[in-house]
Symmetry: C2
């Protein structure tokens, strides 16, 4: 019998015996159909209990290395673990993590980190996370926490005129997650019409989900309806409050036209993405499309990404009652995709008035930054024109220049500044009138950084 060197490591005895036998079988020291020692014999030989051997053998049987033939004993199986598998060469994939060294990034999707209500959040965590409320550890239904949905009913009604009850609200793991849910509800036969230029993640999400995509040009009132007239199964994805990225606000006339268009066929819907309606600086935000929809044609989508933080991965949508049935058919078996604890924290944040307070503070802050950015840009004189609505946490500028966009952009990059051309948001061809229009996000930047960024741009562009 081959001797087994039992050692004094921390490994349990059965594991050492199991490992040894497995290796012997894999290395062909024990060959297929070889008989291995009986449990009793091995136990005597190694001076370990028969139970230990039994555990090791059972594991080997489970994994198919040996088999037990009643009244005969234990035999090695005819298995060639690693050699049966032909090794196929594979590509290595690119590393999806690049860090760029930039001085100033005018990213349109960043928020002011310093102004985050750390203390309030910490307090809400403390009061939500406790041993006496085990609902924070439990699964919840797909739509999300009832409490948060109830808070949203009131909040969305007072701030955006949204009419709904808590059954209609679905908490999602970010806008894209909600759009995927909408895609599943509408089904693949529904084409998706998008404003062009468009919020790219929405476009990509619908494309990946297999929808026919219809990029529709926009005029000064928003998306054109004429190109859609012949379609009966179509959902129009829109950002009517503050078109992303052009900043156009859709007037009531076009809104009515759109709703009437949707009402003309059963399979027509509107997806209203109200992504930054919280941040309007001059007048109150326009009422939502959902608020004037009487026929359950508008799916309203909103997010906490800009209003709380992009890292929270939480948003919400309001489904028309007529789509709720399909939603329930698909999702009633599933659970919510969003951390229950964080839903509770956000619920408390809203219910105790801290969300409203935070929004007011941020509105003031961003308005201030925006004004500062415009003041700083005045060094460009007539070379830069501010376009779009006074809203959100980015500014839209048109640069008057002979240079092409690529040169302008590269000049900025070479000076350590990143700006975001509107042309990036187009599906297909970019009309020349949209050339050299840039998004300058100021959410994450301090006034000093804004000044520095503009100086660097002046150096790059002037």
């Amino acid at each position: 019998m081959i001797t087994l060197p039992l050692c004094t490591t921390k490994l349990p005895l059965y594991k050492q015996i199991y490992d040894w036998l497995k290796t012997e079988i894999q290395c062909k020291n024990f060959k297929p159909n070889d008989k291995i020692p009986s449990k009793r014999k091995l136990s005597e030989h190694l001076c370990v209990s028969i139970n230990t051997i039994d555990t090791a053998y059972s594991q080997l049987i489970d994994e198919g290395y040996i088999l037990s033939i009643p009244k005969k004993g234990y035999y090695v199986c005819d298995i060639d673990v690693y050699h049966n598998i032909n090794i196929v060469q594979h590509d290595s994939a690119p590393l999806n993590e690049r860090i760029r060294k930039l001085k100033i990034d005018f990213s349109p999707s960043d928020i002011d980190h310093k102004a985050f209500p750390y203390k309030t959040w910490r307090n809400h965590f403390k009061s939500c996370f406790n041993e006496f409320d085990n609902s924070i550890l439990k699964r919840t239904i797909a739509q999300g926490n009832l409490g948060l949905r109830q808070e949203l009913v009131t909040f969305l009604h007072s701030s955006r005129g949204v009419n709904c009850d808590e059954r209609q609200i679905v908490i999602g793991a970010g806008t894209e997650s909600s759009l995927r849910t909408i895609s599943l509800i509408l089904g693949n036969n529904t084409s998706i019409a998008l404003e062009n230029p468009v919020y790219r993640k929405a476009y990509k999400t619908f494309e990946h989900m297999g929808h026919k995509i219809l990029p529709i040009p926009i005029d000064n009132k928003g998306i054109k309806i004429e190109p859609l007239r012949d379609l009966s199964n179509v959902a129009v994805y829109l950002t009517p409050s503050h078109q992303f990225p052009l900043g156009v606000s859709m007037p009531i006339g076009r809104r009515i036209d759109l709703l009437n268009f949707a009402n003309e066929a059963d399979g027509r819907f509107i997806i209203e993405d109200d992504y930054d309606s919280e941040f309007r600086y001059i007048r109150k935000p326009l009422p939502s499309l959902q608020s004037i929809d009487q026929n359950g044609k508008v799916i309203y989508v909103g997010t906490f990404s800009t209003s709380i933080a992009p890292s929270i991965r939480m948003n919400y949508m309001v489904l028309p009652l007529r789509l709720l049935k399909i939603y329930n058919q698909i999702f009633s078996e599933f659970g919510s995709e969003v951390s229950i604890l964080e839903q509770k924290i956000v619920e408390k944040f809203i219910s105790e008035g801290n969300y409203e307070k935070h929004l007011n503070k941020m509105r003031k802050l961003y308005k201030d930054k925006r004004a500062h950015l415009i003041r700083e840009l005045s060094i460009f004189g007539n070379q830069i024109k501010v376009v779009g609505e006074s809203a959100g946490n980015h500014l839209l500028i048109k640069l008057i220049t002979e240079k092409c966009e690529k040169e302008v952009r590269n000049a900025a990059i070479e000076n350590g500044v990143k700006v975001y051309p509107v042309s990036d948001y187009f599906i297909g061809e970019v009309l020349s009138k949209y050339e050299n229009i840039y998004l300058l996000g100021f959410g994450a930047l301090s006034k000093l950084e804004i000044s520095e960024g503009v100086k660097l741009l002046y150096k790059a562009w002037h």
Copy 2:
């Protein structure tokens, strides 16, 4: 001129003027094409500043209620907000929230809430959530936090033999979310073969994503391969460590056969759902299929739902390098779906050894509860047989009875106990040999509750 009752409420003056004019237009007191007072006139009439009037008028222009004709003045638009829209009747949808009054729920997906490491979690929150690390407020790439992925590389290798690097790991918002991602990577042309009976949420997810579903019977070694031989584009979804719900563990022979089957065609893959491998009570867990795959054919999926809490909505998957390219093509523009802060907390939980400690504690606890449940079930004598592996936080029992499943189940319900028949997990027809097999989850129950539950079942079934 109509008088406007300006009041002393909190509403800003411009808003009162705006509201009044809007109502007048909607109520047809001001008719389409009527001229409304000039800004100067109204300002004098109301004794408010011209700026206030300007703000109100601009808002009305934005919303399309009035229009400004240069050198002429302001006119009411031809818009009939609410009357243009025909009100269509809609169905009201069912309320997706039912609360049942049960004494004992043997749910197979619940965990022990009392044993949750509240104190540790609170400490991790404190150290992760602070003003000096603004990465907790920032978006991260689709795959999730690098730190957590690095921890998982080490953890999965040592606990499950998984071979990968952090590029291959994707943090998801729960198993279903990962399965949707897998679906998008594989595309609709890939059929999905499922063990039958199966984890229903997996089945439903793939079905909704539009895949052809192939329910495959299982024998005592797991899923049969023969029915799949002719398919070249197929992904086999499996729970090889502890088949859900039958509890069978797949022996090495079948595992090799499966890998070889996958290797024979480019479009064949295996989705290994290792959902509760953390909880094995007798021997060490079987190594994962991923650990013996040499050709990038296995997509490994794991979850924190059972090992931490179902409410955390966080899981992970390991993509083979060959699929990473497609993943990046689809998801590189998106952000992670999981709260960044909670990812940081889990990262710390693992890196400081608390996850391992927690698993050891829970393993002991569940093993104990399981033994207690088996002891209590002995009052049934031969009427109940425990089947399946000694693993997870549920037990599988076969009830020997003349009664049909419906009667058995109803008798339990009438006595305030909920049990989960295996037949619920079948796609299509249920073979008679699977009748009267029940899952009894014990994760969330105390020993006292287990005893009470068994007594009630005895009353119901004996």
